[in-house]
Each structure stands twice: as structure tokens, then as C-alpha cells.
């Protein structure tokens, strides 16, 4: 186990998280008011090209560090307060998305991430596409962009946590 090289690396690197901007003015949707600084998210890929997944990955990485605002990705929709849905909803994913939504306890929030999730984007009208996210489940917060920048996703999450 290379403890000393790793320790040197930790010392040399220090803090890589970028400074947090000012706090959001208030909750971005009325359902978020009850969360008060803690939001658990379940990510659902409804047919995305994985571009948005890379950006979500970096939102929770050390640089953007969305966990400092109280947002956390969890392993089960039962643990979640909000769903993070990416991609146009393909025919195969329409039912699983619906079921995942129903597994979340009330009040449940849906965040549509990326152009595809919001309006179909590149894949709008494709033969395998059942619709956009709002055709299947009610969307509360939309994050446009192809893919959206990590700052935009982090800002949307801060709107939910209020921190």
C-alpha cells in the first residue's frame, strides 16, 4: 500500500473544490421548502447518450462538490426525495421511469437534466423515443443544455437544498 506517496499527493493538492457562490435566494420549487438543507437524489437514465451522466459525475466530484450543499446520490428511489432524470424517454424506459417515480415517497420532486430530457433535443421525434420526461412524470425543475454545465446542475441542486 503506497501510503506515503498518497499522503504527499494529498498534502500537495490541498483543496480542489471551487469556492461556493452566494446562497440561492429561496427554494426553486414549492415542494423543496420542506427539505431544508438535505436532498437525496436518485439518478434515472431514461435513454441518455451519457453526456449528461459525465456532467452529473463531475458535479459530485471534488471540484464542484455538490455534497457540500447537502445533495447526495443514493442507491434506491425509496431513499430519495428527488429524481434526476436524463435523456429522452425511450420506449423501453417509460414504464421503469414511471415505476421509479411511484417508488419515491411524497413529496417527490423530478429534475429533468439536459436538453433531451426537457424537449427531446437531438433525439426529438426519433422512432425509439416515447416522449420527453414531462410526458411520463411531472417535472418540477428543468436544467437545459447539451450537456448542461456542471455549474448549471449544481445551481439547480442548490435551489432544492437552499444552501
Amino acid at each position: 500500500m503506497a501510503v506515503f506517496p498518497l499522503w504527499r499527493k494529498i498534502r500537495r493538492t490541498g483543496r480542489v473544490a471551487e469556492p461556493a457562490g452566494p446562497r440561492p435566494a429561496g427554494p426553486s420549487c414549492p415542494k423543496a421548502a420542506a427539505l431544508r438543507g438535505s436532498v437525496q437524489l436518485r439518478h434515472v437514465d431514461a435513454g441518455s447518450c451519457n453526456g449528461c451522466e459525465i456532467e452529473i459525475g463531475s458535479v459530485f466530484g471534488p471540484v464542484y462538490d455538490a455534497e457540500r450543499y447537502g445533495a447526495r446520490l443514493v442507491a434506491s428511489p425509496r431513499h430519495a426525495d428527488a429524481l434526476l432524470v436524463t435523456g429522452p424517454v425511450t420506449r423501453n424506459m417509460a414504464v421503469p421511469l414511471r415505476r421509479t417515480f411511484e417508488a419515491v415517497s411524497h413529496p417527490r420532486i423530478v429534475v429533468a437534466v439536459g436538453d433531451c430530457a426537457v424537449n427531446g433535443g437531438e433525439f426529438a421525434g426519433g422512432y425509439g423515443v416515447a416522449g420527453v420526461v414531462s410526458d411520463v412524470v411531472p417535472v418540477d425543475v428543468a436544467v437545459p443544455g447539451c450537456p448542461p454545465e456542471p455549474e448549471a446542475i449544481a445551481a439547480a441542486l442548490r435551489g432544492l437544498t437552499g444552501r
Binding site: M1, V3, L6, W7, I10, T13, G14, R15, V16, A17, A20, A34, L35, R36, G37, S38, Q40, P62, D65, E67, R68, Y69, G70, R72, L73, V74, A75, S76, R78, H79, D81, A103, S105, H106
Partner: protein, 314 residues
């Protein structure tokens, strides 16, 4: 039963209840800082609990009493553990219960209830998590028993308070080979029992690698909050037990005046242990599941050597 003992036990339970989420937050914060993150702050688990406690629990179709009972039983056993283990005082009114066998039994009761609840959901991950937890439990419980035997053999009692008092009267015992071997063995099993690295990764989202998390996938709202809270309390109590057995200085007896000092000593000891554990976790990866029994068998051998040396060298 004395007033001092009663007060200290009540304080001990309240302290563990209030402090356990903060301890988990502290360990996460230490990890976050070492990973170059800013971290969510040590109060984040409390924010999570506050929110979860007000959310509605769900009962999945097909689940029965085992699923509904588990969170209550788990939090109940954790509270009993927090009351009987000598953390602040050795003069607890529950002293007769503070027996080694009772403590290990209560610990196992909580784990088994959760495993039964996981089986009750009937999902693939629930069954998988339960079977893994049972594998670990079967190796952890004997190690805890044997490791503390090596300490109780010299005292002639399996009462935890008696062991702690004896160590207080004869501090050099801590440096004896039996005590050191038992400390190493207990540290490994505490890490395994509380589901920390390298046995289980508390931050994982990958279903195939989870143990504890796989068992609680179906819980929501208040039920989930109780389970998370109970897990944090078990971690705090086990770290506290480790501190009491091997660094007992500061623990109060029957007197009231020693209580503030005992409180301070307990907080400092458990904080140091948690920071140490959090730091070590940054440097290690999770063990492959099939290697975990090797690690636990190793710690069992250490415990066995501790008993042998307490018998032959003392």
C-alpha cells in the same frame, strides 16, 4: 443504585443519541477534506435525519411484520447498548446487564432483525445483503467474545464495568501483550460490524458491492431515519467500548463530580478514534467480498492469541 450512576447513564444515552450523527458527519468531513472536497459539514447527518423523520415511510407490497418491526427493534437495541456499555460511568444502575454475553447478544439481535427484514422484502438485493451480513456476523461475534475473554480472564468476571474498573486500578495492563492483541482484534471486528471500509463501503451506490446498504434499500422516510440513526449509535457505542476497554482513563465511578471530566474524556477519545478511522479509510480500498472472511479469520486468530497469552503470560 446511586444518583451519580443514574445521572451518568441517562447522560450517556442522551449523549450517544445526540452525538452519533455528528460523529458520522465528522468522519465524512475528514474524508471529504482529505479528498480535496469542501464537505457538507459535520451537522449534515442531522439535517438528513430531520428531513427523513418527517417523510412518510412506505410499506412495499408483500412485506410483513419482520419488515415493519426491524427499525424499532434496531433503535431499541442500540439504546439499550448505549445504556449498558460503560462509556461515562462504571456505576450504571443496569450494571448486571452489562455482561459481555448480553452485550454481544443485543448487538447480534439488532443485526439479525435487520437481516430478517431484508429477507422479508423478497428482493434479490435484500437476500444478497442479508446473506452477506450473516457471513460477517458469524465471524464477528465470536471474535468480540474471545477478544474480551482475554481481558475478563484476568479480572475473573465477564462484566464490562468490572473489566474497566480493574484496568483503571492497574493501568499497566493496557500494555500487556494480551491487551494489545485483543485491541487489534476488536478494532477489526468493530470496523466490520459497523460496515466501514475495508469490509463494506458506506458511500457506495453499486448494488453488487453493498452489504448494509443492500439490506435497507426498501426503507423510506421515518423507518430509514431510525435505521440510519441506530447504525450511527452502534458505531458510537462500539468505538466508545473500544476506548473504555483499552483507554479507560477519565471514566467516572459513583461520584457526581467526576462526571464532567468523564464526559470530556469520552468525547475526546471517541472523536480521536473516529478521525483516525476516517483518515485510514482514505488510504484503503474495499476488500473483495471473498477476502473479507480471511481478514475476519485473521482477527479471530489475534483474539485467540490474546486469550492464550493472557493465560500463559499473566
Amino acid at each position: 443504585m446511586t444518583i451519580g450512576g443514574l445521572l451518568a447513564t441517562a447522560g450517556q444515552v442522551l449523549l450517544v443519541m445526540a452525538g452519533a450523527p455528528v460523529l458520522v458527519g465528522l468522519m465524512r468531513q475528514v474524508r471529504a477534506r482529505l479528498e480535496g472536497r469542501a464537505g457538507a459539514g459535520i451537522a449534515q447527518p442531522w439535517r438528513d435525519l430531520r428531513k427523513l423523520l418527517r417523510r412518510q415511510p412506505t410499506t412495499p407490497t408483500g412485506t410483513g411484520w419482520a419488515f415493519r418491526l426491524a427499525p424499532l427493534l434496531l433503535i431499541g437495541t442500540s439504546l439499550v447498548l448505549a445504556a449498558v456499555v460503560p462509556l461515562l460511568t462504571t456505576a450504571s444502575p443496569l450494571d448486571p446487564v452489562a455482561d459481555l454475553f448480553a452485550v454481544v447478544g443485543i448487538l447480534a439481535l439488532g443485526t439479525v432483525t435487520l437481516a430478517l427484514a431484508a429477507l422479508d422484502t423478497g428482493t434479490a438485493f435484500g437476500g444478497m445483503g442479508a446473506s452477506r451480513e450473516m457471513t460477517i456476523l458469524a465471524l464477528v461475534e465470536p471474535t468480540i467474545l474471545v477478544a474480551v475473554f482475554s481481558l475478563s480472564a484476568r479480572v475473573g468476571s465477564t462484566n464490562l464495568a468490572a473489566i474497566v474498573t480493574a484496568t483503571l486500578h492497574d493501568p499497566l495492563r493496557v500494555a500487556s501483550p494480551a491487551s494489545l492483541l485483543a485491541a487489534a482484534a476488536l478494532l477489526v471486528v468493530v470496523v466490520a460490524e459497523t460496515g466501514r471500509l475495508p469490509v463494506d463501503n458506506p458511500a457506495t451506490h453499486l448494488e453488487l458491492t453493498m452489504i448494509h446498504e443492500a439490506m435497507i434499500l426498501e426503507y423510506a422516510g421515518t423507518d430509514l431515519a431510525l435505521i440510519e440513526w441506530a447504525s450511527a449509535m452502534r458505531l458510537t457505542v462500539l468505538l466508545g467500548l473500544l476506548a473504555s476497554l483499552f483507554l479507560p482513563w477519565g471514566i467516572a465511578g459513583t461520584s457526581l463530580t467526576a462526571l464532567p471530566l468523564a464526559l470530556l474524556a469520552f468525547v475526546v477519545k471517541v472523536t480521536l478514534l473516529a478521525v483516525g478511522l476516517g483518515t485510514v479509510e482514505v488510504f484503503i480500498a474495499k476488500l473483495r467480498l471473498f477476502r473479507v472472511p480471511e481478514l475476519l479469520a485473521g482477527s479471530f486468530v489475534l483474539a485467540l492469541l490474546a486469550v492464550a497469552s493472557s493465560f500463559f503470560l499473566a
